[in-house]
Symmetry: C2
Subunit: 546 residues, 2 copies
């Protein structure tokens, strides 16, 4: 038996495109002599389709894709993920299914039993869990089908669930396990995934063929890294991260615990870098967009964002706009220009003084000589946002947001100003990690100017301003933020870790009272286990730690 | 037995404030001779607490409030909603519980069994459903406790669920049913609620005491309307909508199917009006804000929004800013000024020409004489947004967004321009309904000028522009939008309703391709069964009907 894993990149709702991709892969697998080809979870429509699942028209189109795949399954079996209707009135209307197609028909259907409903997952919103389990036999081999989370409760040790689907299937004596996944990237996910597969293969003494979606879907990035694992828990082969791939495997050596190519090496910062590049590339590619613009301040956030954009889209597709104000230092323009030259991206210099002056003159008569405050700072940031959006509108460029996770957390940014943009590229990267990314980007030669990395961070919205005037040092700030956001620690636990009480209370208050800003910002590319966005839902109107 | 219903307005996470409210209510009920007082679902922390439920610190504080309530339960029983820890390792960490406190201790705990996970509800994200059921006896009366959705599967007729909690309790022969709810308003909800209560009381032949949360929680508005219903399905009494209330009832006449005051009358547009007023008032009040500002264009959307704001906050707390451009007609300023005078609100006139001119001069050199297009229109809208935000920052005024649901749906609005604002007041009100609201606001005297109602809608961003130049007439547009958004109809079904195919495809494409704008707009006060916001989750990157 030869099994193909097709690590494809579906576009949500692009039924024609997704089907064409799958038909090409089926043909390639057939030519390669495969008996069976596996596609990811919900591959016909892309994952996550969210509330499109509530539209009967959308489900009909999923069914039509399954029908079309059936017609090419005469001499090769196809395992594909699709939503299917629940014929029983009671319970949710849909199942999240793995369909086994062969000889022109649906031969077996497995319904996903474990429906993740936490962080970025909402599956219980749409799907009914499986109530029965089977295996399917194909060319003399008995196969246990599972969908993503189904294998994440090994021996019922995951406290979230009360059933272990593979335990239910084992009495039927399968010869191998197939898992169709759409498992989003975070920097530790590939390691966690291998641990779970290892626990499964060892528990059951069976080989596992695991196929994951690749590609970005708005804020979620799917890294691929599909796996073949031997019954003794060794990685036989791992498909590449962050690109589509199709590979065909003989079952026999895998079942026999032979050694294959093994797993690939992965450095945390390199993974984050590559994930962000894919996130950018797919956001543009899947929306049919080509050109990006961003403001270059001479600081490290915009420099890293520009480098990522140039890597994703090509330097010819990125425009940097330098928007100096009366408070900008000389090095701001010099550093930004040098960055643009290093990257080979187009750049323009647009001093904002005329717009700033005009707006001040417009509004000041109403303000009765009140002193300079955040109003004037914000006007500068908003004139910049407005200028960037004018370029965006007139020239068809998509504005990239350059805010990092630390700033996003504490609300250090101007709504409708530097928080503008269609996509937040580094909004899930803490400031201290932005420096690590910069070092990684500069690993072969200077791309981000040394002075950009060396100088103290500043918004330059008033004379001699530094971030550290109003924020704790980033090393400590990030530690508190990480504890609160990723680990959900309260004030008591954070203070017990050695952080000063006043600082803890101030940081938590900043995070909670700035929820309104995050509500109105661009989608954030997710690279951590807890990103701002669909996976973190906090009320705006609240008085908790506020 | 005398039973008090305490329709309170909790603030999410305000443990001290919520507890103080409840202690006052307990004292009032005790003085009124009540044997028992009922508070809404999750009253200790407010509903919906969302991901705060994942913080152990938050759950500890909920427990502390329950402990404090226990201490005052010596001679009056207290039924209160709170999250409680699940002592079993398997399953979610929490239950959504109704706690029965009496004689200083927790006497009985009911876990919610039906966990809504659709639209704005995410309860399966946090809670484990009940696995056993009981009743509690107090002063000789046997009580069946339920939480909100628990009563929404009468006789297992709701296809979403496979269990009917009250069916499980009936063998224990309760004498009455208590339901603690946090059931958000939409314009048809009070009717639906009474139908469900009626079906329950008739099925079991028992009286029902139903207490609902009141008050707005960011986008969700809870209307109160707590109910006492007789065993024959008559409304014995209905507590007021949109305000806090505490009433004490003798059980005997209710059980005996006597007639009480009955239900209140409710007109759809009046309900929407009052809901929006409460939504505004609580957004400000709960965040400690006092003053609002909005742009007045002379059009109907900003006029209705201003009238709602004046009703909610008082006319002395609302500032209207008139921001005419070179394309504004004379009647724009005249109509807006007349509105401000009718409402008695402060207003200022700030022509935007100097800022518009300065920005054009800044960016045009880069645009190589390209013709006037949406860029210049957006610059105007953004200069307005920037000016309003300057007033907001300098004077501490919160900017109200004035976009209606029809515009929000098709993306007829400028991001960072007229889509600015801390709260979207009428973003769940279709344009055709905005006219109905205007008529309701004018029911006693002219508040919204007749000319504002009469003239054709226009954004006035270029000479002689009208909405109908680029959009279908609102009556037809709203019908298509309602079918797509509320009813989830596809193109086929909408065309079958008699809408022209080209128009249907164009409107659906506009809705789907403008998801990116809605992602960045303010929270929308929800008054319909399907509002833009937390209850409608659509991918930005997708090609479905796009």
């Amino acid at each position: 038996m030869r099994i193909a894993l097709a690590q494809i990149n579906s576009i949500i709702g692009d039924f024609e495109g997704n089907l064409a991709n799958m038909l090409r892969a089926v043909e390639q697998a057939r030519v390669g002599g495969a008996d069976l080809i596996c596609f990811p979870e919900l591959a016909v429509c892309g994952y996550p389709p969210q509330d499109f699942l509530e539209f009967p028209d959308f489900i009909r189109r999923c069914q039509a894709s399954v029908d079309a795949l059936c017609t090419v399954s005469a001499d090769i079996a196809i395992v594909v993920g699709a939503p299917v209707l629940n014929p029983v009135v009671e319970g949710k209307d849909l199942f999240n299914a793995a369909l086994f197609l062969a000889e022109g028909a649906v031969r077996h259907v497995h319904h996903k039993a474990l429906l993740p409903t936490y962080d970025i997952f909402d599956e219980y919103r749409y799907f009914e869990p499986a109530s029965s389990f089977g295996v399917v036999e194909w060319r003399g081999v008995r196969i246990a089908l599972t969908v993503c989370e189904d294998i994440w409760n090994v021996g019922n040790e995951n406290p979230l669930y009360t059933i272990c689907p593979l335990d239910e299937m084992m009495p039927l004596s399968p010869d191998l396990i197939i898992n169709l996944s759409a498992s989003p990237f975070s920097w530790d996910q590939a390691r966690a995934r291998k641990e779970v597969l290892r626990a499964n293969t060892r528990r059951y003494g069976l080989p596992m063929f695991y196929v994951n979606q690749v590609g970005a879907q708005t804020e979620l990035i799917f890294d691929g890294g599909s796996l073949v694992m031997t019954p003794d828990g060794q990685v036989y082969e791992e498909l590449p991260y962050f690109e589509t791939s199709l590979r065909i495997f003989d079952l026999a050596p895998v079942s026999a615990c032979s050694r294959g190519q093994g797993e690939q090496q992965a450095d945390r910062i390199a993974l984050i870098h590559d994930a962000l590049v894919l996130g950018l590339r797919d956001y543009f590619g899947k929306l049919g967009l080509r050109q990006a613009i961003l403001g270059l301040s001479g600081g490290i956030d915009s420099a890293v964002t520009a480098a990522l954009a140039a890597a994703a889209l090509g330097s010819e597709s990125v425009t940097g706009l330098l928007l100096p104000s009366r408070y900008s230092s000389d090095h701001s323009v010099a550093d930004a220009r040098r960055l643009a030259e290093n990257l080979g991206i187009r750049h323009h210099i647009l001093p904002i003084e005329p717009g700033y002056r005009a707006l001040l003159d417009m509004v000041e008569p109403f303000f009765e000589n009140r002193p300079f405050d955040v109003t004037e700072e914000n006007i500068q940031a908003r004139i910049r946002g407005l200028s960037l959006m004018a370029f965006s509108n007139k020239l068809g460029l998509i504005l990239l947001n350059t805010t990092n996770k630390s700033e996003m957390a504490v609300g250090y940014g101007t709504l409708y100003g530097d928080l503008c943009g269609g996509l937040s590229v580094i909004g899930d990267v803490y400031k201290t990690e932005v420096y690590e990314l910069a070092a990684y980007i500069n690993r072969n030669r200077e791309i981000i100017p040394a002075n950009t990395i060396r100088k103290p961070p500043s918004a330059e919205l008033r004379p001699d301003q530094k971030d550290s005037d109003s924020l704790p040092e980033y090393a400590e700030l990030d530690a508190v933020l990480q504890g609160y956001i990723e680990e959900r620690l309260g004030p008591r636990e954070l203070i017990a870790r050695g952080h000063e009480e006043a600082l803890v209370r101030r940081v938590l208050r900043l995070v909670n009272t700035n929820e309104f800003k995050r509500h109105q910002t661009a989608p954030v590319l997710r690279v951590s286990p807890k990103a701002f966005g669909m996976g973190r839902r906090i009320p705006i109107v609240a008085r908790y730690l506020g």
